[in-house]
């Protein structure tokens, strides 16, 4: 191992020491003057958040009739957006848990904000199951099993109730993982802050962290345990989400490929979102030394690998529809490709099949601009994938007399854009008030942290 550092591509810029790493990351939070760009970005995000507020208020006042869904397309934007957001969250958990257990050191500089992204994406996702009822207060007894005044329980055989447990467990573990990881850094901020009030705020978050050997020992144990708990969640959450569809007896949904194909799609979408956030972040804050081209390249590779799995899923859906010999299955895939919504399928293939193939080439993987463009296309593609699955499967019912079309209304779009506003608002607040990159973990990868004879 001693010679390894010589050949490894750098995952941190040259010349960094414990002090420079700490200074750089802590200064992003503790600087007195907030950059103008932050205010501009925050204003846009906050404006979109207000759109969400208006949309949800109107929804509560008027009911789900303000949305475009109706029989036969009884599930539309709410579930599409739910699955899209929850999928995005998965990269954070994968990076923090699985890459930690696999000792992938390059995860160090991206795990913190990827975990934050996970939490915010789950918050956006969690909104939809609640508001899609139109009367969210009934959600308490529709979603949670407790002895309610109706004397009945939710249907435990329904994947929708499994989903409630999967997502709430996921949100809890992700939040814990994120917070535990923050504790040593909050202590650093507490110690470096000059304002008494700021010191106290960070001090409360640091929970009395002094950095003693015992603290570190407990910390490492807790972090490993949480990583172990999170690992199965990477796979289980989207598996259960896919059951929402796969358990239903509907051509286009009723497929055994769904769980693995959804999980791969989630990681794929998640890494696209990490890239979407990481590239502007490192550009505006000058973090190229920490989020290096090597990081971007690795994420590009993950994007390519998961896109291939997703494409395998698409292929199998089409193949099984033909191979099943079922009239309805065959019609479903034909309708998906050439029916009224056929164009969405071809745009989806452009986004998720063709575009990621650029990642075979190193020149695209290492150029931030290209990667950002590819990531944006993938974000759109993964949203379209859920649109295709939900809408094209539903709008042609078994009986032609029940066929219908779905078109989103202004408020469908407003709610969706509004959750993007919520996500970005939370993210802007996060990068302003918390260290977006883990300070103490970055210290472990500077050359100073290695033994004398290991240093490059």
């Amino acid at each position: 191992m001693a010679s390894a550092p010589h050949t490894e591509p750098r995952i941190i810029g040259p010349g960094h020491t414990f002090a420079t790493v700490t200074d750089k990351i802590a200064s992003l939070v503790l600087q007195k003057k907030t950059p103008l760009g932050w205010f501009v970005g925050f204003a846009v995000a906050f404006g979109l958040l207000q759109l969400l507020l208006v949309s949800v208020a109107l929804l509560l006042a008027r009911g789900v009739g303000i949305w475009g869904l109706n029989i036969p397309v009884g599930w539309a934007f709410a579930i599409i957006n739910f699955v899209w957001w929850i999928g995005i969250g998965h990269a954070g958990t994968l990076i923090s848990a699985i890459l930690l257990l696999l000792r992938q050191q390059w995860r160090t500089s991206i795990n913190r904000f990827a975990e934050a992204m996970t939490l915010f994406a789950v918050a956006c996702a969690g909104l939809f199951p609640i508001i899609h009822m139109g009367r969210p207060w009934v959600g308490a007894y529709w979603l949670l099993p407790y002895p309610n005044t109706m004397g009945i329980w939710p249907n435990f055989r329904s994947p929708l109730i499994w989903d409630v447990f999967a997502v709430s467990t996921y949100a809890t573990v992700s939040a814990l993982f994120w917070f535990v990881g923050l504790i040593p850094d909050l202590a650093t901020l507490r110690d470096r802050a000059t304002n008494k009030f700021v010191k106290i705020l960070y001090g409360m978050g640091a929970m009395g962290w002094r950095g003693s050997a015992r603290h570190w020992n407990n910390y490492e144990m807790a972090y490993l345990i949480l990583a172990g708990l999170s690992t199965p969640l990477v796979v289980s959450v989207h598996t259960v989400v896919s059951f929402d569809f796969a358990v239903a007896n509907l051509p286009g949904w009723h497929a055994t490929i769904f769980p693995p194909y959804f999980v791969a799609g989630a990681i794929y979408a998640g890494f696209a979102m990490v890239l979407t956030l990481a590239i502007p972040l490192r550009k505006f804050y000058g973090l190229e030394d920490f989020i290096t081209d090597k990081h971007l390249e690795n994420m590009g590779k993950v994007l390519l690998a998961t896109s291939l799995i997703v494409v395998y899923g698409y292929t199998m859906e089409a193949f099984m529809a033909w191979y099943s010999g079922s009239t309805f299955e065959r019609f479903m895939i034909w309708n998906r490709m050439f029916g009224s919504y056929g164009w969405t399928y071809w745009v989806l293939l452009f986004c998720n099949l063709l575009t990621p193939q650029l990642m075979w080439f190193k020149r695209f993987r290492t150029r931030a601009g290209w990667l950002f463009a590819v990531a944006m296309v993938v974000n759109v593609g993964m949203w379209l994938e859920r649109f295709v699955i939900v809408v094209t499967s539903l709008h042609r019912d078994f009986l032609p007399s029940s066929w219908g079309m779905y078109s989103p209304t202004f408020w469908d779009w407003a709610t969706f854009l509004g959750t993007i506003g919520l996500f970005l608002t939370l993210f802007f607040l996060f990068i302003r008030f918390l260290p977006a990159i883990s300070i103490f973990e970055m210290r472990t990868i500077v050359p100073e942290a290695r033994l004398e004879e290991e240093r490059t």
Binding site: A140, T149, M150, G151, R190, I200, M204, G208
Partner: protein, 217 residues
Amino acid sequence: MSQLFHPAANSIAKISVVAGALAAGLVAILVLFVLPRSSYVTRQHEARVQPVPFYHAHHVGSMGIDCRYCHTSVDRSAVAGIPPTKTCMNCHSQIWNQAPTLEPVRESWRTGQPIEWVKVHDLPDFVYFNHSAHVNKGVGCSTCHGRVDKMSFVWQEESLLMEWCLECHRQPEKFLRPKSEVYDITYQAPANQLEMGHQLVKEYDVYPQVTCSTCHR
């Protein structure tokens, strides 16, 4: 540099975690369990003031008028029926026909404008309930409406929550009585209620459904 936190902060932090969890649990219990069952929400036992001081205690309890004298369609229809002013005037054209308190009744009689009685047992509009199906299968009036013969202004005796409906729909044998006793407001359940109830379930062919569409049609 002085210490940021007092040593007591450690204890405060630990206590606040436990206290926070307890407080959250308490709020959840209050909001999910206590509040929706409280009479504040269900309006159980709240006597409703009517436009005319019509006292059931007097008419049923003292005079012994049968329920069906006024609620004529209870055994033939979904609704028991609110009596028209004419029913009141059957007696009150002869007795108490000058009483000032009954002026709204006489006014209604003169003008043909019905009295606007306040509905006490008001089920949500998404619930289908049929009186005749119940009284013809051995569910007594007082099982749901209580001792109306002891109420001045009538109140809602039971919660009318769905769990209350299901209590009987799931175990009708606990509440059934012989058909001959359905309109007896003073009826007391016998000691062998369960034994008799099981027998009545068989005899009257009582198999109350608990599927959604039984009541939510």
